[in-house]
Structure formats: structure tokens, C-alpha cells
């Protein structure tokens, strides 16, 4: 046990170092303040949603439904996120050599990997679960047993989604290990799994309807779909120690079976994925040697990083892929789209009138959910010294990162916009304004993402997934983008009485202004932050 604790401590040093409070360092205090602010922001959002629902359900004495619903939703999020995180968190980690050379059981190594994943998900889940608990306690008379149950629930909540996603992650890694181009195979197979999950969740109506007919209540319905969610609500209302113990045993058993089950294949798959394509040993030719401008070389370096890290592509590209699917679905499934809107009570005339706004909205959602730059500095890792030793200005290095991110997102967004503009015959001026916004909105996300990453770099990591999916930088960037998105929605609502083009013009101006301010900040302060980067 002592050995395992030492291993966990060693493996999580970099994650935990941020929480070591040293009041002598101003930068650390400000980092902690920002982390606290981020936690507060996420928790406030959850608290407002949960209290809104609890308020509506309190008169019927059905507050417990919110508990099961939240547990269900949090678990689904953890599971979907886990599908594309688990493969790279479990396999081909930088500390493989060290851990595998130690005199410890193979299952212990796998346990450490999954435990690290668990701790992160536990922290993330707490942001949603703790405010829910507090709100529930405000709206319901609770006893000590509720607090005990909730603490147990919080600790067990990530286990089942993590176990499921680790199994899927292992299958994806095993399958992709069979291909010559493992990275592309991994991206392709993960995308198929994710699309499958999305397809199932959109076509689950008949399945749920079937259960609903047999379910006596909403709670029973959720329990039938996902046991822990219903079990928690049941324990909150009607506490029995035997039920709680059974609940704990079931979760722990699942976890233990997963560790021992996966460790039977883990090392074979891990060593298989390490086989590197060594190329053809062809001698270099003059054609291999070409001169390019500094900016082009820097942009292509970023492309190389982007396309060689599957989790980076899946995470950043997901918003764009969904946008393109939505845009082309609107174009080619035009009748179904109209039918959905008209059956939900929207008038046909107002649909045509509001299509440009809808286009802007989906472009905004795609732009502000695609934060590529928020991990670009961190992904330099120890290579930051190479870039800093080169005769190239920090400004050029940083702007090349923004340019690379723009080239990865804006052309795809423009394709979707053009398709929609042609299909819905949007007038020329409006199209121009939408194009302007399609360029300016991702820029806001890219500039802000890079600035945030410069403030919160994570240059030491065992797997790129820790940077792309689990760093403070990506969360802060996500929150910033979310705030901009909400503010944009508010502006659209505020200027609803203005004509469409005036509204778009105001938005374009505001986005342009934000871009300009962020650009100035990046060039002036961001370059200094980059120059001060150190491990």
C-alpha cells in the first residue's frame, strides 16, 4: 500500500504542484485566484440550473429527480469525454519506461494510470455535483445520511463511466495498433465510436419510450437506464445502510474487475502501439530539402503537431465536424429541417427571415467550442527551448500559432457558410457580414486561447491528453469562449428590434474590437510571457 501511495504521489506531482500555495510568489497567487474563479464560475452555473429545476419540482416533492438526472448527465459527459481521452491516457505515456522497469505488478501500473484519470474526473465532477448537493439541501430537509450518501456518490460517480471508456479506449488502441498509420486509424475508429454514441443518443427515443411505459416514475426510468443515478436518488429519499453498502460494493467490484481484466491485455497492446513506423531508410535527396519562409515553417510545425496527436484533432475538430454536418444537413435535408421547425411552432416566414442569424449562431457555437490554441504553448513541452533559441521573434512565433489555428478552422467554416448562403439565397451584403463574422469569431477564440495558455502553460506532461483535455488552460479558454457566446446571444436579443444587417454589423464591429484588443495584448504582454516561459 505504501508503495502505491508513493507511486501515486510521484505520478501526480506536476498536477498537484499548482495547489502548493506559496504566498511569496505573486504569479502563483494570481494563478490560484483564477483557478478559484473558474471553479466558482462552473459551480455558479450548475447551482443556478439545479436550483431552477428544484424550485419547479419542490411543490410536488420530487426534488430527488434532479439528483438522478444530474448524476445521469454528468456520467454521460464523463463517458463521452473518456472515450477519446482514455486511449492516450492509458497507453504510450512518457513515464512508461520508468514505471515498467520498477519491481511492481503490471496491474499496479494500470491502476496508477486509471487512478490518475479518476482523480481528474472526480475534481471535474465535483464542480457540478457539490453545487447540486448544496442546492438540494436548501430546497429539501435533509439528514446526515444524505450528506454521507452524497459524499460516497461523489467518490463513486466517475467509476462506471471511466471503466466503460477505458474498455472502449483499449479496444480503439488495440484496433489502431494493427494499422501502419496508427494515429489516423485511432482518429478514424474513435470518430466511428463517437458518431455511434451520438447516433444512439438521437435514436434512443423508442427505447426510452418503451421503458417509460413500464416505468412508474421518472426516477424509475433513469434507474432503469443507469443504475447509480436511481440508486443515489433512492438513498437520498429512503436511506438504508444495506443499500449504500451494496452500492459501494458494486462500484468497487466493477473497478477491480476492470483493473485485472484490462491488465491481461494492457502490456501487449502498449508495446504494440510503441512500434514505430521507421520509414523506408531511403537516402535523402535534394528534393527533400526545400527553403520556406519562417512563418510557413512555423505554421507547418504547428500542423505537424496537430495532425500527429489524435486527441488534439478529435477534441479541436469535433466542433467543426459537427458544424459541417449541421450545415450540409440543413442544405440537403432541407424539407426535414423545415418540418422540425414548423412543427415546433415556428412560422415559415420567420424561418427564412432568421436563417442568417441561425447561420451566425451555429458558426459561433462551432468557433467557440474549437479551442485549438489553448494547448499550443503547452504542447511545445520541453521543445520550448528550441523555439526560444531560434533567431525568430516571439511575436512571429505566437502569430504563427494563431495563423495555423485559423487555417485549420476558418476554411471549413466558410465552406459551410457558402453552402448555407447559396441554399437559402441569403442576400449579398448579409453574406459579406456573415463571412466577416466567420473570420472574426474564431480569431477571438484563437487569440484568447493562446493568451490563456501563455498564462497557464503545462510544459511537463506524460501524455498530450493531459494538456488538451485536462489542463487549466483549456478549461479557462472554454469558459472564456462560453462567456463570449452568452454575451453574443444577449446582444442579439438586445438588438432584436434592429434590422438584420445592422445587427450583424454591430456584432462584426464588437468582434473586430475584441480581436484588436486581444491582438494588442498578445503582442505586448503575450510575447513577454512567452519569453519568460520556463520548465
Amino acid at each position: 500500500m505504501k508503495k502505491i501511495i508513493s507511486l501515486i504521489k510521484a505520478c501526480m506531482t506536476s498536477e498537484m504542484s499548482l495547489f502548493k500555495i506559496n504566498l511569496k510568489h505573486k504569479s502563483r497567487i494570481s494563478k490560484i485566484m483564477i483557478i478559484l474563479f473558474l471553479c466558482f464560475a462552473f459551480m455558479s452555473m450548475t447551482a443556478s440550473y439545479s436550483s431552477m429545476m428544484l424550485e419547479k419540482l419542490a411543490p410536488f416533492d420530487m426534488q430527488y429527480v434532479v439528483l438522478s438526472l444530474f448524476v445521469f448527465v454528468i456520467s454521460i459527459f464523463t463517458f463521452i469525454e473518456g472515450i477519446y481521452k482514455s486511449g492516450s491516457l492509458l497507453f504510450n505515456c512518457k513515464d512508461d519506461q520508468l514505471l515498467l522497469s520498477l519491481p511492481i505488478k503490471k496491474s499496479t501500473v494500470l491502476f496508477i494510470r486509471i487512478f490518475k484519470f479518476y482523480v481528474f474526473e472526480l475534481m471535474f465532477n465535483s464542480l457540478f455535483f457539490v453545487p447540486l448537493m448544496v442546492c438540494y439541501m436548501i430546497y429539501t430537509k435533509v439528514t446526515a445520511s444524505f450528506i454521507i450518501t452524497s459524499i460516497v456518490m461523489l467518490l463513486l460517480l466517475p467509476i462506471i463511466p471511466i471503466v466503460l471508456s477505458c474498455i472502449i479506449g483499449t479496444i480503439i488502441t488495440w484496433l489502431s495498433g494493427k494499422f501502419r498509420f496508427k494515429n489516423f486509424a485511432q482518429i478514424f475508429i474513435t470518430a466511428i465510436f463517437l458518431l455511434g454514441v451520438f447516433y444512439l443518443s438521437f435514436n434512443i427515443d423508442s427505447f426510452i419510450a418503451n421503458i417509460a411505459q413500464k416505468a412508474a416514475s421518472v426516477n424509475e426510468l433513469i434507474t432503469k437506464i443507469y443504475y447509480p443515478a436511481g440508486a443515489y436518488a433512492k438513498l437520498a429519499v429512503d436511506f438504508h445502510i444495506s443499500d449504500l453498502l451494496l452500492f459501494i460494493v458494486i462500484n468497487l467490484l466493477i473497478f477491480i474487475i476492470c483493473i485485472f481484466g484490462l491488465s491481461a491485455f494492457y502490456f501487449k497492446i502498449n508495446s504494440n502501439i510503441k512500434r514505430v513506423t521507421t520509414g523506408s531508410h531511403k537516402a535523402i535527396k535534394k528534393q527533400n530539402i526545400k527553403k520556406h519562409s519562417q512563418t510557413r515553417a512555423l505554421v507547418f510545425k504547428e500542423f505537424n503537431t496537430f495532425f500527429k496527436i489524435p486527441v488534439f484533432i478529435i477534441n479541436a475538430g469535433w466542433g467543426i465536424i459537427l458544424f459541417l454536418i449541421a450545415a450540409f444537413a440543413m442544405c440537403f435535408k432541407y424539407d426535414s429541417f423545415l418540418k422540425i421547425l414548423t412543427t415546433s411552432g415556428v412560422e415559415l416566414g420567420s424561418i427564412y427571415q432568421n436563417v442568417p442569424l441561425l447561420v451566425v449562431l451555429i458558426v459561433a457555437v462551432a468557433s467557440f467550442t474549437t479551442s485549438i490554441t489553448s494547448s499550443m504553448i503547452s504542447l511545445e513541452g520541453r521543445n520550448y527551448a528550441i523555439v526560444k533559441s531560434l533567431p525568430v521573434s516571439s511575436k512571429r512565433v505566437l502569430l504563427s500559432k494563431v495563423l495555423a489555428a485559423c487555417l485549420l478552422t476558418i476554411p471549413a467554416l466558410l465552406i459551410g457558410v457558402f453552402a448555407l448562403a447559396i441554399k437559402f439565397k441569403i442576400d449579398f451584403i448579409t453574406v459579406l457580414l456573415i463571412i466577416g463574422l466567420t473570420i472574426l469569431m474564431p480569431l477571438v477564440s484563437h487569440f484568447s486561447g493562446l493568451i490563456i495558455n501563455l498564462k497557464f502553460p503545462k510544459l511537463q506532461f506524460d501524455s498530450p491528453t493531459e494538456v488538451v483535455k485536462q489542463s487549466i488552460s483549456t478549461f479557462a479558454a472554454l469558459l472564456f469562449d462560453f462567456i463570449v457566446l452568452i454575451a453574443m446571444g444577449y446582444l442579439l436579443f438586445k438588438f432584436a428590434d434592429k434590422s438584420l444587417n445592422v445587427m450583424l454589423l454591430i456584432l462584426t464591429f464588437i468582434m473586430g474590437l475584441i480581436d484588436f484588443v486581444l491582438y494588442l495584448y498578445l503582442v505586448k504582454r503575450g510575447t513577454r510571457l512567452f519569453e519568460d516561459l520556463t520548465l
Binding site: V276, T277, T278, G279, S280, H281, K282, A283, I284, K286, N288, I289, K290, K291, H292, S293, Q294, R296, A297, L298, F300, K301, N304, T305, K308, I309, G381, R382, N383, A385, I386, K388, S389, L390, P391, V392, S393, E531, D532, T534
Partner: protein, 236 residues
């Protein structure tokens, strides 16, 4: 020429470099030696402009790395102690990337890459991804990238670690060739017998302070460099 003027670098209250001053002329091979954690890499990173320092200045051919870093870096090349590179790239792409940064024309880079790739027996391996390389192959790749843009000053942090004897011999030949052409070489090392044979000047650093600097002949006298170093290390 490298001129280090009263450079001090602090990590919190600890001085990693304490008022370090010395000069390396054109055509010198300068060996920088010291125990682990003495401050060698800190000074090298300060010379390369990788990190800042608190006091003093470093002049590269008369220009300050603090105020004119781009001009200084343009004439220098850096070989780090641990050959960290963009592992997902092919070696040839990495070398091309470094050459692009130094704005090297196609003819020069082609000649130099071909020349050094052949010298280090890497000509049939540069098309492979770096993550398939051994430590020594990575080190050779970093060296080819560093030499491909004809630097006037070569800064190396323990360059011989992990290299096979043939590669060590070849590097020594390249360094001698560079010195004959009037170029400056500064490198840190723990391999004292190589430094003794190869270098014209030596600096010894201990706990951030430069305790000896001068020509190899003056520093070691009749003794071996190893003996001088051990004696200095043992004195408080």
C-alpha cells in the same frame, strides 16, 4: 566573440550564476566544466537567450542578447544536453525547419545537410521519424541541424553524451575545422580528457561562481585537467 559581463541569475534567493565574467575570442574552443548543478546549463541558456538573467550582460560579436536577441541568435547554433526535438517530425523536416528559421538558402543547406548527414552516417536515416531514433541518432540530428546554417558561434551543452566513438571523433574533426575557419565554440562537458586535448581555453564553475578561467595551458600547467578540477572541487 562572446563576452560575458557580470552575469547573475537568481532562482528565488539562490544564485545560480553569481557575477560571472569572461571573454571567448574568435577561433577559441572553450570548455566549460563544473559539477552537476554548478550553473553550466544556466549560463548556456542565458547565452542562447532561452532564459533571462537578473544582472549583467552577454555580448555576441558586440551585440547584447538582451536588447538584440534576433541578431545574436542568427549567428549562433545551439546543441542542447538532451536532444529534445519535435519527435513527430521526420529528421529531414526538422532540419529543414531549423534552416528555414535561419533563412538558409537552398544551395547552402543542401550542401551542408548532405555533407554532415554523410559524415555522421545518417544519410539513409533522415527520412525516418525522429521518434524512431536512439539517443545518439537524435544527438546527430541536432548537430546536423546546428551545422547546416554555418554558425559563427556554436554553443553545445554536453555534446558527446550518448554518441558512438566514431561520431565523437567526427565531431572533434568538425570542431577543429570550424576553429581553423575562425569560428567560436563554447561547450560544457564532463569528459575532461577530450576537453584537455581539444580546447584552447577552459572555465571552471562551482556553485554559480566562476573559479578559474584562462588558456588550457595556464589553467592546468603540468597537471592533468582532471587533477586540477578535482583539486578545485575539493577546496571550499
Amino acid at each position: 566573440m562572446i563576452e560575458i559581463k557580470n552575469v547573475t541569475k537568481k532562482y528565488g534567493s539562490k544564485k545560480a550564476l553569481d557575477d560571472v565574467s569572461f571573454k571567448i575570442e574568435d577561433g577559441d574552443i572553450f570548455a566549460f566544466i563544473g559539477h552537476n548543478g554548478a550553473g553550466k546549463t544556466t549560463l548556456i541558456k542565458a547565452i542562447m537567450g532561452i532564459h533571462d538573467f537578473d544582472e549583467g550582460d552577454i555580448l555576441i560579436n558586440g551585440k547584447s542578447i538582451k536588447t538584440d536577441p534576433i541578431s545574436c541568435k542568427k549567428i549562433m547554433a545551439f546543441v542542447p544536453d538532451n536532444p529534445e526535438m519535435y519527435e513527430n517530425m521526420k529528421a529531414i523536416d526538422y532540419i529543414n525547419f531549423i534552416c528555414d528559421m535561419y533563412d538558409v538558402d537552398e544551395e547552402t543547406r543542401t550542401n551542408n545537410i548532405m555533407k554532415y548527414a554523410k559524415l555522421f552516417a545518417m544519410d539513409d536515416k533522415l527520412n525516418d521519424p525522429i521518434n524512431s531514433y536512439s539517443h545518439g541518432m537524435k544527438q546527430k540530428t541536432v548537430l546536423i541541424a546546428a551545422l547546416a546554417h554555418n554558425p559563427e558561434i556554436l554553443i553545445m551543452d554536453e555534446p558527446f553524451v550518448g554518441l558512438d566513438p566514431k561520431a565523437v571523433f567526427d565531431i572533434k574533426e568538425v570542431l577543429n575545422e570550424m576553429v581553423k575557419a575562425g569560428k567560436t565554440i563554447f561547450y560544457s562537458t564532463h569528459i575532461l580528457d577530450v576537453a584537455e586535448k581539444l580546447c584552447s581555453k577552459v572555465g571552471i564553475i562551482k556553485n554559480g561562481k566562476l573559479i578559474k578561467v584562462g588558456t588550457m595551458k595556464d589553467i592546468k600547467g603540468d597537471k592533468s585537467l582532471e587533477k586540477v578540477f578535482i583539486e578545485l572541487e575539493e577546496t571550499k
